[in-house]
Amino acid sequence: MAMIEIRNITKSYGEFKVFNGLSLEVEEHQVVCLIGPSGCGKSTLLRCMNGLETIQGGEIRIHGDRMSGPGVDVNALRRDVGIVFQSYNLFPHMTVLENVTLAPVKVLNESRAEAEAKALRLLKRIGLEHKAQEYPDRLSGGQQQRVAIVRALAMGPMVLLLDEITSALDPELVSEVLNIVRDLAAEGMTMLLATHEMGFAREVASKICFLYGGKVHEEGPPAQIFSNPSEERTRAFLQRIIEAGRL
């Protein structure tokens, strides 16, 4: 049984159907990359998976347990499923250390000392322990996004959702963020990425899913999707990416 099973989900914003019977399975330790045109629902899918948005039909199961619909303890779900956003969303009124320790202290009831020790250990791993007392505005975009990843990791999530985490970054800052994701993949973190970094997706992904028309239009290993896609839509999408010089 797959760790995450998304079965036949539907969701509409008014007339617009974001999901029209979308299904997707993710095995433990897999890295799944979601690609597709703007508005195809990559981000929405990730947001539904940790309860920031609700689905209208179908279901999402994690370890066989239904994690969508009424009665789910979303606060508990979010402890297990972390998410990192495109615009980092660090808390501007807190230092880096306070950003990272807030949830462990308030949600996991860790002692402050314990949470700070863990935060500093994580910050050290990404080379930012010297920024612990700084406010987010004094950090570069790449540094802020690395802190945002650490903030999610401090909760000890079982699954990490990464929502276009490099889209808002200057090109030369992208690699420092992707290196962390690469390390996490190597350590076996189960991850779903919505991304436009096709080269990176090709390198780290166990599976690529092309979202189109409210469904997973085509999925497969990166080698197959990028070199020999079987669907016309996938081919057209990748062709435009190549024309833009992004692959």
Binding site: R47, N50, L52, V74, N75, A76, R78, R79, G82, I83, F85, S87, N89, L90, F91, P92, H93, L102, A103, K106, V107, L108, Y135, D137, R138, R151, A152, M155
Partner: protein
């Protein structure tokens, strides 16, 4: 640029730009003598008017026998200081002459520079002259009718003798607004949060808090104070009927200003981008934890300036408690004023109210600046 191989046309062949444009920015400057002459004339007129007013003040002071070496010295100093108006006026005139000379010598650039300087100096003269004229108007008002205005509002001897009583009564105002401000901060936040509670279950709570803010923002504070201050003792309710007039005033002002401040809080909370809430919720924080640790701390920083506005309003409205007979500074000053048939003690109270608000504004500006310097990147 010729047309390129992908078929786009070069700039020269396109019809986007007009073909018969002439360079028009190189005109010779106009003669600035008119401006500088006007500046000189106005400066001289204002100086003469000032001297005449100062003379009037001097004779008014002599008539009430309060002239001294010090006052005369100050008047003379003012008379000399106003001569400073001539400086930019003369400077303007000189630059105008030099612009004329440059133009005669065909030095267009030199003429432009001198012309601009001449104009700038003429405008400086007008700016300062305008302010001096306003001050002269005020001075004339005070010495008019044989110092009637000064005597009515600023009788120094009465201000001095009544200052102790007024200051003591002003403590009542300070007590009322300090307690009310603390209560308003808490009460306003509770109302704002009640109004923003999500979900169907909270619909009645949202409704009642909306009704409350609508009612008490519409109700004039003076009527509210009057109703509570006179009404509650009449009801004979236990505990409530025995409170002091000051307590009724605090209660009334908290209810009125709580409604305003709740709206200020609400606008602050709603101005925090939803992505901050999403980030907090995605870490497992509950709705209330998100408000407590993420949204409200950021909102409070943004609403400090409008909050200070409301607090200054509240401080001034403490003077309304005189309608329920509480001896605050205004009421005390009115009693003294009617005993002496002179408004000077009331002027004192007016000045006291002004004096307490100015340092608050500066303090808040300083606090905001410090907070921003701490959080923002250096240099910006």
């Amino acid at each position: 640029m010729a047309s390129t191989d992908d078929g786009r046309e070069g700039v020269s062949g396109a019809g986007l730009l007009g073909s018969d444009r002439q360079w028009a920015a190189g005109t010779t400057p106009r003669d600035p003598t008119g401006w500088s002459a006007t500046a000189l004339g106005i400066a001289v007129l204002v100086i003469l008017a000032t001297w005449s007013t100062l003379n009037g003040i001097h004779s008014a002071l002599a008539s009430v026998k309060s002239e001294s070496v010090a006052t005369t010295a100050i008047l003379v100093l003012c008379g000399v200081a106003v001569l400073m108006l001539l400086r930019p006026a003369v400077q303007s005139w000189r630059q105008a002459q030099s612009a004329k000379g440059a133009l005669a010598g065909k030095d267009v650039v030199g003429a432009r520079v001198a012309n601009a300087a001449s104009r700038e100096d003429a405008y400086v003269t007008f700016g300062y002259a305008a302010v001096v004229v306003i001050l002269l108007g005020i001075a004339q008002f005070f010495i008019a009718n044989d110092l009637a205005v000064s005597r009515t509002f600023f009788q120094v001897s009465l201000i001095g003798s009544s200052l102790g009583l007024t200051l003591k009564a002003f403590w009542t105002n300070i007590y009322i607004f300090v307690v009310a401000e603390i209560l308003v901060l808490i009460w306003g936040l509770i109302v704002a949060i009640a109004r923003l509670l999500p979900g169907d279950a909270a619909r009645p709570v949202r409704l009642i808090s909306t009704i409350y803010t609508d009612m008490f923002r519409g109700l004039p504070a003076i009527i509210n104070i009057y109703l509570i201050g006179f009404g509650i003792p009449l009801t004979g309710l236990p505990v409530l009927k025995d409170l002091s007039p000051e307590s009724y005033a605090i209660l009334a002002l908290t209810l009125t200003y709580g409604a305003y401040v709740a709206e200020v809080y609400r606008s602050g909370i709603e101005s925090i981008h939803w992505s901050q809430v999403a980030a907090a919720r995605s870490l497992g924080l509950s709705y209330m934890q998100t408000l407590r640790y993420v949204v409200v701390p950021q909102a409070v920083r943004r609403i400090i300036p409008p909050l200070l506005n409301d607090f200054i309003g509240l401080q001034k409205d403490t003077a309304l408690v005189n309608v329920i007979g509480s001896i605050d500074a205004f009421n005390q000053a009115r009693i003294i004023a009617s005993n002496h048939f002179n408004l000077s003690p009331v002027t004192t109270v007016a000045l006291l109210f002004i004096l307490i608000t100015i340092p608050q504004t500066r303090l808040v500006d300083r606090l905001i600046e410090r907070d921003q310097r701490r959080m923002r990147a250096g240099g910006t």
